[in-house]
């Protein structure tokens, strides 16, 4: 922990990134539902209205497609909008603007146009929010050329990645996790940027590489401590940014441990874990001592009931079991 680091909440770290960037660049403005007066459902934007006023901290009606499209139009014409979509589930309402407009504009203009837009949203299973407020939909954005995608798992990463996302000249989707907003961590004070496309080794270990992002990272770290007690040292690699993806850090870890478990909250089919597995088998096949284990959410919508909900998502015990399978295979 550096001298300037303090322990703050994930939501506070995001707030610092927004606040610093708005101070630094008058082109940065934010809009979304209930983000101004109310400070956002998760208090990420608390206090920003007071400092920056209603011109740059804008409460919108429930018109996701159009206010996201406005973000795209403002970005094309020189602003750096940060548009908040309350739940990633609601991002389905804005997919034309994100996929057909924002992601393609630079390409379609032969490189003359830029869309420095950030789409902030949050996903994942929470506490009984059921099928339309609990999804993990990163694969939809991951699949689309022209978009960058970050999914911070710690307060420090949240601040550093959001800062870089705002400064980036291309559209960046930032998917936060609803269960992480109240998590604590060390965060550098002042300006702090993490280059997009740099993975972080959250825990070192020589026996198995566990790749996870967003809400699965703390769970994998807890599982790793459990495994250490029985002599298995897991290396937990958090890509942090899924697009661009830091292949080098992932592959270096795989070459060291020769065993791989990829843990994702999203359903397995067509998911990011499968793509990372395909990269590993293509680039490091000779190093693998066992088949790659993918531990993913079940192939279902998220149920309301607590026991059913938990049964759909990898839990700590599932991760421990998956690692044991991989190591002893």
């Amino acid at each position: 922990m550096g001298a300037a680091d303090r322990v703050i909440l994930y939501r506070e770290a995001l707030n610092e990134a927004l606040c610093n960037e708005m101070r630094r660049d008058p082109g940065v403005f934010i809009m979304g539902e209930g983000i101004a007066e109310r400070g956002g459902s998760y208090k990420v934007t608390a206090g920003l209205l007071d400092e920056f006023g209603p011109q740059r901290v804008i409460d919108t009606p429930i018109a996701e497609a159009s206010f996201t499209g406005m973000g795209v139009g403002a970005a094309i014409t020189g602003m750096r909008p940060v548009v908040e979509i309350l739940f990633v589930d609601f991002a389905m309402l804005v997919m034309d603007q994100v996929i057909n407009q924002a992601a393609k504009y630079r390409f379609m203009t032969g490189g003359r146009g830029r869309v420095p837009l950030v789409l902030r949203t949050q996903g994942g299973v929470g506490d009984g929010l059921a099928a339309q407020h609990s999804q993990s939909l990163e694969a939809l954005f991951y699949h689309t050329p022209g978009l960058k995608l970050v999914m911070p798992s710690t307060p420090g990463d949240a601040k550093g990645l959001l800062t870089s996302a705002i400064r980036d000249d291309d559209p960046v989707v930032c998917i936060e996790h609803k269960l992480l907003y109240l998590s604590e961590g060390e965060v550098p004070a002042g300006e702090y940027a993490i280059e997009l496309g740099r993975a972080d080794v959250k825990r070192s270990g020589g026996d198995v590489t566990v790749i996870a992002w967003s809400g699965m990272v703390p769970r994998c770290l807890a599982a790793a401590e459990h495994l250490a007690a029985s002599g298995i040292e897991a290396e937990v690699v958090d890509p942090r940014s899924l697009v661009p993806l830091d292949r080098d850090t992932i592959l270096a870890s795989v070459r060291k441990t020769e065993h791989v478990v990829i843990v994702q909250e999203a359903v397995r089919r067509g998911g990011v874990a499968s793509d990372i597995a395909s990269i590993i088998q293509a680039e490091a096949f000779d190093y693998l001592d066992a088949p790659i284990e993918i531990l993913a959410g079940r192939d279902t919508a998220i149920p309301y009931n607590k026991q059913l909900e938990q049964a759909c998502i990898p839990q700590e015990a599932d991760i421990v079991a998956a690692v044991r399978r991989a190591v002893y295979a």
Partner: protein, 318 residues
């Protein structure tokens, strides 16, 4: 009446757009253009009248039927021709084509392949200018078809609650591809929709460039006073099907004939002659435009195709 110089300039642009569309259809038939091509023939007065009312710093947002908007906003013919032929010197380096031409230099955010999708882009451009404290209007062109898409209603409301300087230009050509407006709207006077959002709205004859221009001037002035947005419904008719390969057989012959009599070029030329121009002057102007068009076509045909190797290298570097 408007000054002769302005009428001359507007007629020249009307004629340029028509010549561009006539040429592009011929080039399509010759196999020099691929994909979709949506001619603006018959609707020229709308783009010309609106763009003549805009200032240099203003924005426009175009549609899939976008050649006319680009030309009226000052787009360069050689780069347009090169683009629709898919050549490297084109506006989008051959990556965009007819449906994606944009021209950031003239404030043209671009055509769009998704009906209605450009509407919020224009409102966003106006929002950005508003935040920066700049005096800029965004003219958003869209169709009767787009007015049945959700983003039209959302964007009209958003622009209204924030008093944004947006000129919503509803080009009512009375068809969504082949579906006539009577089948998709109970009230076919589409400008009536503005009132529900508290937006100043009116209808104009979309084939009369002078009428469009005068209404657009009023609407822009209103936007610049901070009393925007404004919705202008310009009623018009296509001189053909939805795209180059659609013969438009569903379009009744009597309506086609009615609107051909009210061809925007005929109307525009009449205004010009009434203001003292001679047939010789008009013929000279038309010949100049034809020569420009020939030069643009020659530029396009002589332009190199994009290099696949360079394209792949760019992708791998990004």
């Amino acid at each position: 009446m408007l000054p002769k110089a302005l009428l001359t300039r507007m007629y020249r642009t009307l004629y340029t757009i028509r010549a561009f569309e006539t040429s592009s259809i011929q080039l399509y038939r010759r196999g020099l253009i691929r994909g979709y091509l949506h001619p603006y023939a018959g609707e020229e007065a709308i783009a010309v009248g609106v763009c003549a009312a805009l200032g240099e710093d203003d924005y426009i947002v175009s549609t899939h039927r976008g050649h006319g908007h680009c030309i009226a906003r000052g787009g360069r013919l050689p780069e347009m021709m090169a683009e629709i032929m898919g050549r490297e010197p084109g506006y989008c380096r051959g990556r965009g084509g007819s449906m994606h031409i944009s021209d950031i230099d003239t404030g043209n955010l671009g055509a769009n392949g998704v009906v209605g999708a450009g509407i919020p882009l224009g409102v966003g451009a106006a929002l950005g200018a508003h935040i920066r404290g700049e005096d800029r209007v965004a003219a958003v062109f869209f169709s009767d078809g787009a007015s049945n898409n959700g983003v039209f209603a959302e964007s009209l409301n958003l622009a209204a609650i924030w008093n944004l300087p947006v000129l919503f230009v509803l080009e009512n050509n009375q068809y969504a591809v082949s579906t006539p407006i009577e089948q998709s709207s109970r009230d076919t006077d589409l400008h009536h929709r503005g009132a529900a959002y508290g937006v100043e709205s009116c209808a104009v004859d979309g084939n009369d460039v002078v009428e469009v221009y005068e209404r657009a001037v009023e609407a822009c002035a209103r936007c610049r006073r901070g009393d925007g947005p404004v919705l202008v419904e310009a009623v018009t008719y296509r001189q053909g099907g939805h795209h180059v390969n659609d013969p438009g057989q569903y379009m009744p012959a009597d309506r086609v004939a009615h609107y051909r009599e009210r061809d925007p070029l005929v109307v525009g030329k009449r205004h010009l002659l009434e203001e003292g121009a001679t047939e010789d002057e008009v013929a000279k102007l038309e010949a100049e435009v034809e020569a420009e068009m020939e030069a643009a076509i020659a530029f396009g045909e002589a332009s190199p195709e994009p290099s696949v190797e360079a394209f792949v290298a760019e992708l791998e570097a990004s």
